[in-house]
């Protein structure tokens, strides 16, 4: 078998050729393509659809602000609402509440409140229903 050596061979050409006059019109073709691309390129901020979409998004966000605010507020229960509910709406009575208290809660309640005689009298006189509460 004859060993093939590249360096012993005359140079082998690729065999590729371009069509006749291909390069004559090539530069015109490229420049035309460049001009077309330059015309086609419209910056994103200049597109009408993009502006319309941004405006729609801004309006939507603006409309959602009160909804979001109310949604957050409605979740917060203030003490007064809770007290009113426990007193008038719920079926829980004071004995149920007492049953739920543990030692720590009782200790926290069990504090000596130093009351001046005058203060006590003031409270008693300004709360006509206090007798009912004491008797309960």
């Amino acid at each position: 078998m004859k060993v093939f050596k590249l360096e012993n061979q005359p140079k082998i050409e690729t065999g590729f050729k371009a069509p006749d006059h291909y390069f004559d019109g090539f530069s015109v073709k490229v420049l035309q393509q460049i001009n077309e691309k330059e015309v086609k390129i419209i910056p994103i901020y200049k597109r009408k659809e993009v502006i319309a979409m941004i405006a729609a998004a801004v309006v939507l966000i603006a409309l959602m602000i009160p909804v979001v605010n109310n949604y957050n507020k409605s979740k917060e229960l203030d003490e007064a609402t809770l007290e009113t509910y426990l007193s008038y709406q719920s079926t829980i009575n004071q004995y149920d509440l007492i049953r739920e208290l543990d030692t720590k809660d009782i200790e926290a309640i069990n504090k000596n409140v130093v009351l001046e005689q005058e203060t006590l009298e003031d409270v008693l006189s300004s709360n006509p229903n206090i007798e009912n509460l004491i008797s309960e």
Binding site: M1, K2, V3, F4, K5, L6, K11, I12, E13, T14, G15, F16, K17, A18, P19, Y22, F23, F26, S27, K29, V30, L31, Q33, I34, K37
Partner: protein, 180 residues
């Protein structure tokens, strides 16, 4: 003959840009066509890639920092465009890059713009057995007769590594042609 810096300045200046780009086109269209054609093998594909290459060159000119020579920068764009084109074409046809390359070589005989005979076809088939980088090095050195220093700037590989790569490529090609 103006120097490269001055020529780049003309390319970047809107007033002189078109005339300078015409010069760039006429100077580089033939060598870049050969470079691209050697990679994609088919004239129509080479035509597409060459046009894309010049369009990209024009678009990216403002980013050209002059760190490398204009020549190697353009060759780099052409090489990347050709390789990307090939991998996209292979994917589109559901083939591997190697399979696509072999198929194109098999069709060379019927190609109007191929003027080769048996030895050329055999050489292209032998080149197709090489890894991508070795193929590039061989084609740029053997067919395009670029200097190692130029190939080094284009591919970003050291001259030593390129010489070794070319040497391996030649050995494999000789072995393939001898045994086929």
């Amino acid at each position: 003959m103006i120097n490269e810096k001055e020529f780049i300045a003309r390319l970047l200046n809107p007033e002189t840009q078109n005339a300078a780009f015409q010069i760039l086109l006429s100077e580089y269209q033939k060598p870049l066509y050969s470079h691209i054609r050697n990679i994609v093998l088919n004239h129509d594909d080479a035509d597409d890639v060459l046009q894309n290459t010049f369009v990209k060159v024009f678009q990216y000119l403002k980013n050209f920092k002059g760190e490398s020579k204009l020549f190697s920068w353009m060759y780099r764009i052409a090489t990347n465009e050709a390789l990307t084109f090939l991998s996209q074409k292979a994917k589109l046809n559901g083939l591997t890059s190697e399979a696509l390359q072999n198929k194109t070589i098999d069709n060379l005989k019927a190609d109007t713009y191929f003027d080769g005979d048996e030895i050329q076809i055999k050489l292209h088939k032998a080149i197709a057995t090489l890894p991508e980088k070795q193929q590039l090095v061989f084609k740029m050195k053997y067919f395009e007769e670029l200097k190692y220093e130029e190939i080094s700037e284009i591919l970003g590989t050291s001259v030593g590594a390129l010489k070794a790569s070319y040497h391996h490529a030649v050995k494999k090609i000789e072995l393939y042609v001898t045994s086929n």
